[in-house]
Amino acid sequence: MKRFRPLLLFCTGLIVGTILMEGILRMNEVWPLWKVATVAQASFYGPDWDTGYSHRPDRDGLWLTENRAWRHVNKTGQLGPDYSIPPMPGTLRVAVVGDSIVESLQVADEDTFIRKSEHLLRHDKIHAEVLNFGLSGASAAVSAARIDHAVFSASPDLIVLLLKSPELLLARVGDDSAFPAYISGSSNEIVRGTEFRQGRGFQLRSGILGSVLYWLLDHSRLANILNNRKNVGFFNEVSNPQNNEVSTAAAAPQTCAFNHKTMSPVQQAILDDLSYYPDGSQPRLILALTGLSTQCDSLTERQTIIEEVYKALSKRLPDVSVLDLDAVLSTHMAGPEPDLSVLHGFGRNLGTGHLNKRGHNLYAAVLTDAIQRFIEQHP
């Protein structure tokens, strides 16, 4: 025993030092210290049977990338407060679905366009409840899977889907090894593939070992630091979707064509998926296409695309509306050629990244306006 005493002393010291560091990191999370001090970024993501990855329910923590914000994932796995199922009578429940722009981890919940539009609607005497179904890196297939499962369970009166226009205009067969994607089925029909479920990483994350490690992430700031630092392999939910998003955007050629009569099988599959819930009922949908201004040179071309998408969707859905989000945002901004990039980025990174406070304010105004119009047209 005496022989091991030095080793024991040293290891005890290491453990005490580790506990001390954990304590310091937790202490730094006290308001307003967390705004500047060294803190650990929370791990919000986990494996999901339907979408490959999603937010783990009932989590609190700090988001640090781009801008610091304290965020909460509710009991049903959405960012924001809990909500009742079914909705309270007389409440208009709106589910906003999309990628990290909707997710808005970079700002506090009350500053997101989701919450702001809820306030604006209530200000206009519409008792609305707007739910955040944003998920970083969500493609058309992931969003469709999310609508089928998470959104459907929330019984919304209206769905607003923010979809990147190349997702629909290019609509290519994808790779479903990490999360859902449209693939060619056994008889060449287009289906939403879920090969990711057989993946080793997914199975590991969904198993007992995964539970243990996620428990560690939820109870140790140091575990989060290690996870963020060495975010490869086991806990790669955060990095994968974003990487995928970047690579898709980089690989996507410019395209400005859509014809409801000559849609590709993938385009048809996407629109079919958006038109029916799993029980066969149909949602009321506002489809907001984003980034169309980067795909088409003229406003006329963009209007044609919107009309064509509307024609295609309205054949499937009675209550649908299609928006060119860039165009609507531009009309809300002052000046002859408004610069949409000022809505993105924080501090020195103005112009690139996710929505800043100005962006959220404008998106809230646009979303509120779109919901109000939709209700008027589809009572």
């Binding site: 010291g13 290491l14 001390l20 500047v36 001090a37 060294t38 501090g347 020195r348």
Partner: protein, 445 residues
């Protein structure tokens, strides 16, 4: 680091271990940087045998060193005639540590010529003198008469260091890491936002200058503390580079507390040879301006650094005239020195002179420089002011750390348990996520 230390302790040839690791460490900088440093090492080693024979040789090797520095550091500045390269946001483009090792080698040659030290005949020892890995990239700049004897006696030093306490060395490394990762990197995003977007109002402008003053202090002194601590683990004593400069009561005192080894280099090899404070006031003023202007230029190819240096020259000169009156008013000397330091940091941090002048205008309540405003409303303002004052209090508290009672406590506590605690904290600090990617500021110079 632990591996190097273990090899250094266990292998019979400690000098070779330090030589190899210093070379491997610098090799990560890339082939170009290695070629430059190798060429300079060869030239300086060969000429060290000649500089005592004729002043011509000394002049030549100084010229070679300065020329290399100018070619690789100031080329764009002198060719284009304009200096607009924002060192704080752009990539590091100068060879790693060039400003430091060129000064160290030049100082060595001058000391040799003046007979202050003897020539180093062993190339391995010479390489260790120039490239000793803890201080190679950003100092402290060491003098041969202090450092060479330690390299000559490495075997004895190793024996001595193994018997001496490890905890103070580890604590110094920890202090450096805390300064860099906990403080400097936490302040960096806020400083970068203010200087990238430009302050919209006076309080944001003052906040930017205040935060930058502490960011650069924590960043640079953190590196120096780590360098001194790491060297101490190998039994080598490097000079301290910082002595809480923001507690200075005069500009002269500031330079005795800020980047001390550079200040001493400039004093010994530039200011005094140019005549120092001797002669009529106009001459003394000119010497001061030239010296401080060159000290500013040393930091990088931008007018902002030159104006910063010249500003310090002017401040030091003026303070000589009025300092005695300020000394009679309690705290006046400190307040004036601290305010001038903050003001001069604005030049240092600004991307160009136009921005700096506009920044001063905003600081004085004039037109906004940009659109970045930090809200001082309600509790926010109170917390910001409390935070800023805390930085100053921490600065004062730090001065109490380097006292004999603290050293005694560390020596008394030196043992495996406390070593384990400190090593765990060091490891975790190294592992803290670096989402902003902030290299040490002085790596840019």
């Amino acid at each position: 680091m632990a591996t190097v230390w273990a090899l250094w302790v266990s292998l019979p040839f400690p000098r070779l271990v330090l030589f190899c690791f210093s070379a491997i460490f610098y090799a990560f900088a890339g082939l170009n940087d290695v070629l430059i440093v190798t060429t300079l090492l060869v030239f300086n080693f060969l000429f060290s045998f000649l500089v005592t024979k004729s002043k011509l040789y000394l002049a030549f090797i100084i010229l070679v060193n300065i020329l290399v520095l100018f070619i690789f550091k100031y080329e764009s500045f002198f060719i284009s005639g304009v200096a607009g390269y924002d060192l704080f946001t752009a990539d590091i483009i100068i060879p790693l540590g060039i400003s430091f090792y060129v000064f160290q080698m030049t100082g060595y040659q001058i000391d040799l010529a003046k007979g202050r030290c003897s020539v180093q005949r062993d190339p391995i020892r010479f390489v260790i003198f120039v490239m000793f890995f803890p201080q190679l990239i950003a100092g402290p700049i060491v003098r041969a008469q202090n450092f060479m004897p330690q390299i000559d006696n490495l075997a004895r030093i190793r024996k001595r260091s193994l018997k001496s306490t490890m905890l103070p060395s580890l604590a110094l490394i920890l202090l450096g890491l805390v300064k860099k990762i906990y403080f400097a990197d936490s302040l960096a995003p806020h400083v970068n936002d203010i200087f990238a977007r430009g302050p919209e109002d006076a309080q944001t402008a003052i906040l930017g200058a205040w935060l930058f003053a502490f960011q650069i202090y924590f960043d640079f002194s953190g590196y120096s503390d780590m360098a001194v601590g790491m060297a101490r683990l190998f039994g080598i004593r490097l000079p301290m580079n910082f002595f809480q400069p923001y507690l200075s009561r005069s500009p002269r005192e500031f330079w005795q507390r800020w980047h001390v080894t550079l200040s001493q280099w400039i004093l010994n090899y530039l200011y005094l040879p140019l005549g120092g404070n001797k002669g009529p006031w106009a001459r003394a003023f000119a010497v001061l301006l030239i010296t401080m202007g060159l000290a500013g230029l040393w930091h990088g190819a931008n007018w902002t650094f030159i104006i910063w240096g010249l500003g310090w020259g002017l401040v030091v000169f003026l303070y000589r005239q009025i300092g005695q009156y300020l000394a009679t008013i309690p705290l006046a000397g400190w307040l004036v020195t601290f305010s001038l330091t903050l003001g001069l940091w604005v030049f240092f941090r600004s991307p160009d002179l136009h921005f700096a002048l506009s920044y001063f205008q905003t600081m004085g309540g004039g037109a906004p420089t940009g659109d970045w405003a930090v809200s001082f409303n309600g509790w926010n303002g109170i917390f910001i002011i409390m935070g800023c004052l805390s930085l100053l209090i921490l600065h004062f508290a730090e001065s109490k750390l380097f006292r004999a009672p603290v050293a005694r406590i560390l020596a008394r506590r030196d043992g495996l348990f406390w070593q384990g605690v400190v090593i765990a904290l060091i490891l975790w600090l190294v592992l803290l996520p670096d989402l902003n990617g902030n290299p040490f500021i002085y790596f840019r110079f």
